[in-house]
Symmetry: none
Amino acid sequence: MTELPTKTEDKHKRILQAAIKVFAKNGFYNSKVSEIAQEAGVADGTIYLYFKNKDDILISLFEEEMEKIIQNMKQEIGKEEDLLKKLKMFAVVQLNSKKENPDLAAIMEVELRQSSKFMKEYVNMKFIEYLKIVSSIIKEGQKKGIIKKEVDPTIVSRAFWGALDEVARFWVLSPRKKVSLSTSAELISDIFIKGMVEAVNRKS
Amino acid sequence: MTELPTKTEDKHKRILQAAIKVFAKNGFYNSKVSEIAQEAGVADGTIYLYFKNKDDILISLFEEEMEKIIQNMKQEIGKEEDLLKKLKMFAVVQLNSKKENPDLAAIMEVELRQSSKFMKEYVNMKFIEYLKIVSSIIKEGQKKGIIKKEVDPTIVSRAFWGALDEVARFWVLSPRKKVSLSTSAELISDIFIKGMVEAVNRKS
Amino acid sequence: MTELPTKTEDKHKRILQAAIKVFAKNGFYNSKVSEIAQEAGVADGTIYLYFKNKDDILISLFEEEMEKIIQNMKQEIGKEEDLLKKLKMFAVVQLNSKKENPDLAAIMEVELRQSSKFMKEYVNMKFIEYLKIVSSIIKEGQKKGIIKKEVDPTIVSRAFWGALDEVARFWVLSPRKKVSLSTSAELISDIFIKGMVEAVNRKS
Amino acid sequence: MTELPTKTEDKHKRILQAAIKVFAKNGFYNSKVSEIAQEAGVADGTIYLYFKNKDDILISLFEEEMEKIIQNMKQEIGKEEDLLKKLKMFAVVQLNSKKENPDLAAIMEVELRQSSKFMKEYVNMKFIEYLKIVSSIIKEGQKKGIIKKEVDPTIVSRAFWGALDEVARFWVLSPRKKVSLSTSAELISDIFIKGMVEAVNRKS
DNA sequence: CATGAATGAGTCTTCATTCAT
DNA sequence: TATGAATGAAGACTCATTCAT
């Protein structure tokens, strides 16, 4: 049903996959284009048929992967009806994606925060779109009277993401994973949910 | 009583201050040693009388600044008796430090997450020490029955820090600061506190 | 009677014409084979079906164009009987060719003087043939007692050509052409003619 | 009396001298910066302490050498009183400079005609200054009634220079120098002088 | 201690050329 | 023949580090 990837698409993908691996291992600045080429099984020059330059590899990587992540998240969240469960689901999916694609996660972690000119613009756009998934849940919760009005959705969506990101980072770094990722996801989302809900609701 | 800084100490400091400025502006890998030297008003070679190499500048920067940050935080927190207020204070101090020393904060943000070999070891040690300030508050809270036992202090201290760090990052990036840092600090800490406290306590 | 150009001849020509345009614009070393291909409307690889390599394009260009130029010059000169008028005609034709085919002229100007190994040999042969048109006129003039015997035909043919070439170059570069090319041609040839004729002749 | 060159001046000169040698041998585009460095006895990187980039070496070379050539020519010409002898002297000096500094001459020959953006501007300025030496002699000759008014000084100065340049080029290329440079100089200048002088003067 | 000129290893990038289709 | 994707050698340039002064 799905078309077979053409040779060209294939090579594009292969280079990007190689880049993810290499960037994750060495960081962007310590990665050599030639290493990516080798990892991808192409000649150095071939890279430049698919990407403008080294920077462009990183940018493309974000463009394409962030889009996938956002779409995937929206789909997973969509399955839930309950707003609070949506938040919990968000936490679970985000943490799991780290487990399933740790190389990509490692890159995002660092490069998202790099202040390099070129990143700032594009990445932020996509990142903001991602965060909007959370903030719109919160806003809806506020409309429905479930979540306190004093909560600033923008701030809290940032905080929620930051908390999850850091917990995931810790999990990846920890040699022995004492606490499971899903337990952590539940813990964090419970705290945020409980912290945000209307006190009145809870009395009943 | 405190000795006046010798010329040497002075130059060491000047280089470090210059490095903070330069690293914050360009990121570590796009910063040139010669630019740090110029900013510090010393010759390129002089840098190497005080630091082993470029990496060492960054490491020293962490060593010295993290220590200050930790000591400062401990002192500020110490003024508070109430455990929950301690947490709030933690948030306030962390966010304020971003405002007061944005260059240093910008560096920490990124470099803390760089996977460079040399960082991992040292930085993590200091960072863990910093996080322990939070986790020990939580542990004490649990001992006193204020905070739920199900909460894993290690995980939550990470999450708390991650949330604050991200909110601070957002604040720095936002052109017009709609929400004040202290409001954000309160918002985040309230959520975490409310989210962690024993339900029983709240009924009364 | 003349055969229509086959597809092959056509493509060969198109590539050469494209090369003239591209070399003239960028100079040989700053021209890319791919740009010539594009200009010619063929694939990069096609170039190599007609030419051994990039150098060979330039060489072929000289071979073919120089031959045309020489034949054309001989024909034009042949119309004149008077030796001195032949010289004047040479000047006119040479300068006009610059006007009519400035791209080719621009290439000749520079590449004729490039010391690249491969050029030296072939180009010089053709170039010498071209100069012989002038030197044989001079020799004949000397035989007939019109031109001074002290004049070295080889040297003067060079000088004559060099003078014309530089004047043409100036004309091309000048934004507003104050002096017409034909006036210049006359001026230069007059000087050379007057400068070379036997003084005795002029007394009568 | 003359100050000893400082180390820095020395290295600057050495690189330029090396560049003249290397450019003359291979042409600009076939010359490697590393070859210049080696020839100059410095490290590759050192080149970039004295010149912005490879282009800048060529530009500097023109700037400095053209200036010397112009000054030298003016001085030599200045020794002569007679206008026509000045022209002859110009020819002699120009041709001799080719003999004395053939490498530099070879570079000028080609690069002066290269259309590279950067050259056009600067070089032309200096080159025009050089040609003005000739054209002002001609103008003065016209004022004094020695040289025909119909002669366009700008055009003829170009032609004169072009003639000399080509003769010199021929001389350098010729394996056995049948005709001496000074003879050629005299021949060319005689032709131009005779070709430009007022006919009336010659009758007496 | 301080300097800053010099070093040269290291890398991105280009582009002529090839070759499977 | 024609294509154009792929190759990989080559070279300009940078910059951390050294060391003679």
